[in-house]
Structures are given as C-alpha cells and as structure tokens.
Symmetry: C2
Subunit: 315 residues, 2 copies
C-alpha cells in the first residue's frame, strides 16, 4: 500500500519516519544535525536521510515511497516549498522542495514545522475537533500556528504564527530579533537559562531544571519562571483578543512542564483577558513527534488520502 517519508529538520537533530497510508509507523530514525559543518552540509544530510528512508527496506516492502514531506523551522513558504530563512540551520532562500524532488525523483512538500505540528495536534492530538485555535510552541525559541476554520494560516510571507515576537515589556531584555521585551526574550527555553544565569551566575541550567528548582523554593528560579509565565500570559492575551480561539495548545520542550506551566499560565491569563473570557489551555499531546507526524499527514493528503481517512491514524 506504499509509504510516505516524513522528516522533521531541527537544529540539533533530524527525525525521520516512514508511514503507510493506514498510519502504521514502518520505520523511525534519528540522526544528528551536522551544525558545525555549515548550512550546505545540513541540507545534504537532510537530502541523504530522506533518500535513505525513501529507498530503504521498510518503504520498499510497503510497495515504494509515494511522497516526501519535510517540516522545517524558520520562515517557510509552504506553498512554494521554499525556506526563506532558517537561522538555526543557517539556511536562507533555499528551494528545498525542488532540491528534494530533483534528488529523489519523488513529489515532495516542505512545511513550516509549527504548522505541521498544528496539523498533527488538530487531527490526532490535543486539538482534535477544534476549528479555531492557537498552537504556541515554547522550546529553544517560541513560535506557533494560528488555526482558523481548521487550517493553519500561512501569512503573506509564511511567517504567520510567530507569536514569540509579540512585545510585552518595552524595557525588557533584548531579543534575537533586535527588539526589546519580546515574549521569546523572557520565556523561551534558551532565555530562561540566560535570565537565570544573570541572577545567579550559574550558566546553562536547562529550563526543566529551573522549573524544578522553582518548585523546591529557589527564589531566583521562581522569579525567572514567574516572569516567563507573565510574559506568556500577556502575549497570549493579545492573541486571544485578536483571534477569539476556542482553545490554546501549549507545545514544545518547555510545555512538557505540563501543569506546572499550564496552571499558573491559566491563572494569569484569566486576569489579562476580561471579555470574552480566556480560552482554555491544553498541553500538546504528541510532544516531540508532532512535527514528523504532521509532515506525514500532509504528505499522505498530498498523495491522495482523505482527511477523514488519516484522522483515524493511531500513531
């Protein structure tokens, strides 16, 4: 019944999967991203990985690969399959879809990773059944996706959903984007560590450690975490006013804090949003797998599977 190859291209790792039309995972593999070897080497590694999976035993046994689908972080034009800018991979203006199609002689698609994750959470995860909702991904950076009438908005340059760069503290710390006080500058995993190091002198403490220390009474960790939750609440309050979503889904590594993020954030959000009342918050269900699962869903739909068909997957 043939196979789709899905690849989630991240700054530290490449996650690959081969999935058949019924949603069976035929093969899953992870390779390190060759960050130190430069943008070209990362692109080459992604192409080689996709090629290996497409031609590999599991895909061959299933009857051959019919589509290749990639999820990529950054500024991605999903329609053209073009990566405009991916700072974590060093890419700019990379016609990735064409490169894959030419190398593998297979139809391909390239989606922004948060929009792929939103497709997965919407069809199979925490937002199943929701039509108008918001995904916020809180990891090394902060991004997200806006889902309206069941479809993730693309925006005019593919940058819709970049809610990490909503400003919430005009005098706050400088963000990588050049602005002060973005949500990302206060609440991303990387910046939680930076803020904690500023207070304590202790560098490279991971976000999950900071959350754990805050729970154990570490006052610096509490301050950093409360500031982060407040920044997220302020940013999401603006999103809620603008979009009136029925649900906000919290994804990304920092959201794996679960209720330790969701509960205080819901309390803060309730004070920030007056009328209509704040939407409920839910922790993402698919974790780190959302990117490649979404790519596989998009790939199979591009290969002719109906939405109702892939919605029954139990991946």
């Amino acid at each position: 019944m043939s196979a789709v190859v899905a690849l989630d291209v991240g700054g530290t790792g490449l996650k690959g999967a081969v999935v058949d039309r019924s949603g069976r995972l035929l093969c899953a593999e992870r390779r390190a991203t060759p960050r130190d070897e430069g943008p070209q080497a990362i692109a080459e590694a992604a192409l080689t990985f996709a090629g290996d999976l497409a031609a590999g035993g599991p895909a061959r046994d299933a009857g051959g690969t019919v589509h290749v689908a990639l999820a990529v972080p950054g500024l991605v034009d999903d329609t053209a399959g073009w990566v405009r800018l991916a700072p974590n991979l060093g890419w700019s203006d990379l016609p990735l879809r064409t490169l894959v199609e030419e190398r593998l002689d297979l139809p391909a698609l390239v989606w922004h990773d948060a929009r792929a994750a939103a497709l997965a959470e919407g069809m199979l995860g925490a937002a199943r059944g929701a039509r108008d909702w918001l995904l916020v991904t809180i990891g090394t950076g902060i991004g997200g996706a806006v889902i309206a009438d069941g479809r993730a908005l693309h925006g005019t340059r593919g940058a819709a959903g970049e809610l990490g760069h909503i400003g919430v503290a005009p005098d706050g710390p400088l963000c990588a984007c050049g602005k002060r006080g973005c949500v990302e500058a206060l609440a991303s995993g990387r910046n939680l560590s930076v803020r904690y190091a500023e207070l304590t002198g202790e560098a490279d403490v991971a976000a999950e450690q900071i959350v754990a220390r805050a729970e154990r009474g570490d006052v610096s960790a509490q301050l950093v975490w409360e500031t982060a939750v407040g920044a997220l609440a302020a940013g999401l309050a603006g999103c809620a006013a603008l979009l009136d979503p029925e649900l906000i889904v919290l994804g990304g590594g920092v959201a794996s804090a679960g209720d330790r993020l969701r509960d205080p954030l819901a309390r803060r959000l309730a004070t920030e949003v007056r009328f209509p009342p704040a939407p409920p918050l839910r922790t993402a269900a698919l974790g780190e797998r959302a990117g490649w699962i979404g790519a596989a869903l998009a790939g199979w739909q591009a290969a002719g599977a109906e939405p109702g068909e892939v919605a029954r997957w139990t991946l």
Copy 2:
C-alpha cells in the same frame, strides 16, 4: 432586477441603503438611533427602518427586495445572525436575523460591522486585491477584522478582530473592558478626549480637534496623540508578528486624520517590528460608508450574486 436593503446599525445613527445587483445605489437614508429610549426601541427602530426601505418605492421600482443585510457593532455571531452583546445599543442575546426575517418575511443576514467593512474595503476599497490583511477601525472604540485568504475570521464566539483589547501598557489607564492599558484605552476617539481632559481640564474635545491642536503646537495634544500612536503601533506590531499580513488598513473616524495618523504610525511600527519588516499602512477608502456597503455586498452574495460580479460595483 430587484434590490437588497443594507442597514448599518450604529450607536448614534442608523444608515440605510437600497442597492441593486449592479451596485446602483437606489436610495440612501439616515435616521437617529433612539439611544435614550432603550434597547427595545433601538431594535424596533432598526426593524421599522429595514421594513420601510424593503417596501419603499425605490425597492419596488427595482422589482422588489430579495434580501436584508444588517451590520452591527459588538459581539456578533455572523453565522447564527445573533447579537451576543452590543454595549453601545444595550443589546444582549438578540436573535436579530430571526426578528428581521419574521417581521419582513424576507431572508436576512446579520454581520459584525467591522467584518462587513472589511468585505467592502477588500472588494471595493483600500485592500482590493489583498488576501491576508488586517483592518483596524479607530472610532469611538477600537475594533477590527482579520482577513485570511480573502475571508474575515469569525473566531469561536464571533469576537475575532477585537484588537482594541490588546494590552500595551500594564500600568496604563483603565479600559471599559476592566483591564488596564488596552490599545482602546489610549487611542480610541473617546479616550483621546478623556486623556486630553485629564491633562488640560478641558472636556469633550473631539479627536480631530486634538490632532489639529497637536499640529499647531499644543503640547498636551501632542502628548496625547503621540501616546495614542505609540499604543496603536505596539498593538499592531503584535498583530503583525502573529498574522504576517501584507497590508494594514486604517479605518474609523480617527483614521480620517489620514497621513497625520498614517505617517507617524508607520514610523513607530517600523521600530516595533524587526523581521519580517512591518507591513505597509493604508487609509480606508470607503470611510463611514464601509459598513452598509459591506452589508449590501454580503446580502447580494447571499442572494446569489458571484464575487466577481459584485467586485465590479462602483459604489
């Protein structure tokens, strides 16, 4: 060739129009909103007005009314034609579409006024040809509409586009919504007057007067206007990050300041938005007519006119 009755229901006036399928304005009339007589009287006035236009000479001469379309401010469920809450009219949970249909024995629709204005500006006005854009209406209050792929988002309760309640100054003045420092609390027409009165003791100076005084060197007026522009820039910067629009259209009474709003706002927005660059700003083209023109467009499309057909109107 028959007629559609369009009615823009506002807090101070009701604007009615009778439009034929080719976009000819057969009749335009304005009546005062009976604010002092309460919510029931306002609803009755709207029903009577719509009935008078539907049965009047111009509609009869055109071959009869085929649809009635109303644009209403507040929290409006366009799909159900239900007004959940319209503070300026005193309405809550009013099944307006059903009331119109029963009274006039004609098919009707009820839309949020900013979404109606967005339809008009998108098809016939400042956003012609744009697919992903944002309308901000700066009048007595501040609202707007989010247009994605050519359609205005509705949100889960009909409240999408309420960007006046994006918070930009946590210690700012109290907003009518109960929160501090909303864009509306700093930049709406009504609040420009309130802020100016706080500084000078002079009450009820209209927004356009404040803009004129600021130009003539009135320091208090300059402060109020610069603060308003800064609040709008901060709010719109967040919207731009979240939605990546190709264009922002400035509508409502305060936007009739034209370049005196657009130019300083564009400068502030350029400093607030880093990457991707800030979208261009354009002043709305249809002014106060956008609400009823949008209602007429929606009414004619509901009555079977094709989008390509009504897009040729020269109203």
